[in-house]
Amino acid sequence: MSEANRRVIPIGPYHPLQEEPEFFKLIVEGEKVVDLEINIGYNHRGHEFISPTLTYDQVPFLVERICGICSNSHPFAAVLAIEDCAGIKPPPRANYIRSIMQELERIHSHLLWLGLAGHFVGYNTVWMWAWKYREYVLQVFEMITGNRNHYAMNKPGGVRRDIKPEQIPEIEKAMDIVEKKVLMLKNAVLDDPVIRARMEGVGILTSEQAIAYSTTGPTSRGSGIPGDVRHDEPHAAYGLVPWNVVMFTEGDVLAKTKVRLLEMIESVKIIRECLKALPDGPIQTRIEEIPAGEGIGRTEAPRGEVFHYIRSDGSNKPLRHKIRAPSYMNIASNAVAVKGCSIADAALTLAAVDPCYCCTDRMAAFEDGKMKFTWKDLLRLSWGKTERLKQRFR
């Protein structure tokens, strides 16, 4: 087909594929995708700007609200950065509890993705079933923290809530169920010939491309790059319990699915080991003050490495708080993975990186080293546009 047959298939900003504010312009010839334009930035909320206006105790609660799914990863990385800056270590029990929370979150996030992937290929039964099994994890969350989402567990110097001895058997029971169900889903998904036909060889991201686009998490581990912050830089309790990094080399959607399915099993293993080895002692240390300096915190969120940087001037508020969420790199890799796919495959490939737009959106407009727009300017621009639209439709 020729250039004249090119058409633009818009995915977003409002699209039933992903109920999130994203905009992918698929440039297609017939059914084949020849190019992709990625537009994000519909959901900018200015977390990095708000953070320096809050005290260190408030920052974890703010970053927790960056993403509803990764609502443990962001505060986890933030408190790691604050602790790095202050030069303190949390007590061992807090480390184990942090790892348990992080792995629980990974299970619930991967189950959520699996369900959505089923939905995207039109397999709504997998969707509903995966989300039903996710309920067990959410109940564990509710039992430990009181919330099904936004757990508010991390604080600089430790965790806010303890895991009580009588809760441990219940968590273990839930993990037994989850493991059984995940194995069931794994067999159901991987043995289904139609699912294999839809996922195998689709949206291939080679390991060179994965490196070139700095992908992280399951997206890169599906392309043969064994990068995992939990393994490369053991923090919390990850260096203290046995577990394996899951990696596949094919780089297609099926490989990413397999990575996520097997990671859930590994997470169950980590939680069991952590519960077994849970040491006694306090769950938090007191931080007297945070000296001037800087600190970084990295942790493996379900979607990949989440990175927080905090610069302190010795006051009780951060001077600068920089956040880089995994989807920021992973979404960009779609540009190569989608090329050559059909539209049907493109929908699945775009979703296979498990994109999270609220983590990703950021904005800065500088001119000659000075900020071009302040908050008030932006507001004025926004009001002006609304007014113009009103005029047009009057």
């Binding site: 039109g122 139609v194 036909a197 929908a347």
Partner: protein, 309 residues
């Protein structure tokens, strides 16, 4: 149909067994579909009047015609399939209860009438000038060419078995005399092929490729709203009733007896279960499946039918 007065004909087309009767049964069947699907997926599912409530709601909505589309074609397209379904319903019921009154070639007429709804969707979607609808229309066309081949091949089997009659009445009578065609190797294969084609004609998973909402935002129906969308919905609902009846007529001894009800429910259940235990095919995979998979099976079934198996 000889001897029907004008009023009798109108009654048959509009009330029973034509439009009204088929629509009501069809909508109840879509509720069965939604309810069973919900139970398979561990949901509660809607109340039985939900399809009717949806209908009433859609009636209160405005019918939008997109700018730049050809208005007449856009609005006439949904009627094509609906009319075809009314005629099919009258024909099927007449043939089953008066097998002697059927005319030569009515099987061919039925096959053509069943191919009108996809035609209507293709025309309407192309008229809407929406790029997503255009993709949907091209998919619908590809899919149509895909399933029509094995569908026709499978329908050759009962014709051979009844001794070369292309009359539905003869098929029904031959089955009443010598047992349903389904109870033979070629019959089973052919019926399964027709079942897969039914799934595709209904646009159910794994063949909901033309109106895949996650890929192309319901594709062919993207621009339809209000009453014109209702027509498509009703067509689909009527097809859900008529296609299994057609399968029973051609392969399972006709439906002029009470046994037809459990047979019908079994087929419906099969359709719903296939819908809920499969992901969506890609369009080229579907084409390959129909042409090389089911097409080959269809040829096998025809050969077996010639050998009287």
């Amino acid at each position: 149909m000889i001897g029907w007065s004008g009023w009798g004909l109108a009654f048959r087309f509009i009330v029973f067994p034509g439009f009204l009767f088929t629509v009501v049964i069809g909508l109840v069947l879509t509720w069965v579909d939604r309810f069973v699907s919900a139970r398979v997926q561990w949901r509660k599912g809607p109340k039985f009047y939900q399809p009717f409530a949806d209908l009433v709601k859609l009636f209160t909505k405005q019918t939008m015609v997109p700018k730049g589309s050809s208005k007449t074609v856009f609005l006439i397209a949904p009627v094509i399939g609906l009319t075809a379904m009314c005629i099919i319903s009258v024909l099927l019921f007449y043939v089953n209860f008066n097998p002697h009154g059927s005319f030569v070639g009515d099987l061919i007429v039925l096959v053509y009438l069943f191919s009108l709804p996809p035609l209507g969707t293709i025309i309407g979607a192309s008229a809407s000038r929406n790029p997503l609808s255009a993709v949907g229309a091209s998919r619908e066309m590809t899919l149509y060419f895909g399933y029509e081949l094995p569908f026709l091949l499978a329908l050759v089997v009962p014709v051979i078995k009844s001794g070369g009659a292309i009359r539905l009445g003869s098929l029904v009578m031959a089955q009443q005399a010598g047992g349903p065609f389904l109870y033979s190797v070629s019959g089973v294969i052919a019926a399964l092929i027709v079942l897969a084609s039914i799934q595709a004609k209904l646009g159910y998973v794994p063949f909901d490729i033309a109106d895949a909402d996650q890929e192309i935002m319901t594709g062919v129906y993207a621009e339809y709203s209000g009453a014109s969308l209702i027509m498509f919905r009703l067509t689909k609902a009527m097809m859900l009733f008529l296609l299994p009846l057609f399968l029973i007529t051609v392969f399972w001894g006709g439906f002029a007896n009470w046994w037809a009800i459990p047979k019908f429910l079994l087929i419906l259940l099969l359709i719903i279960l296939i819908k809920n235990t499969n992901p969506r095919f890609q369009i080229d995979q579907a084409l390959r499946f129909f042409w090389f998979g089911l097409g080959g099976l269809g040829v096998l079934a025809v050969i077996l039918a010639f050998l009287n198996l």
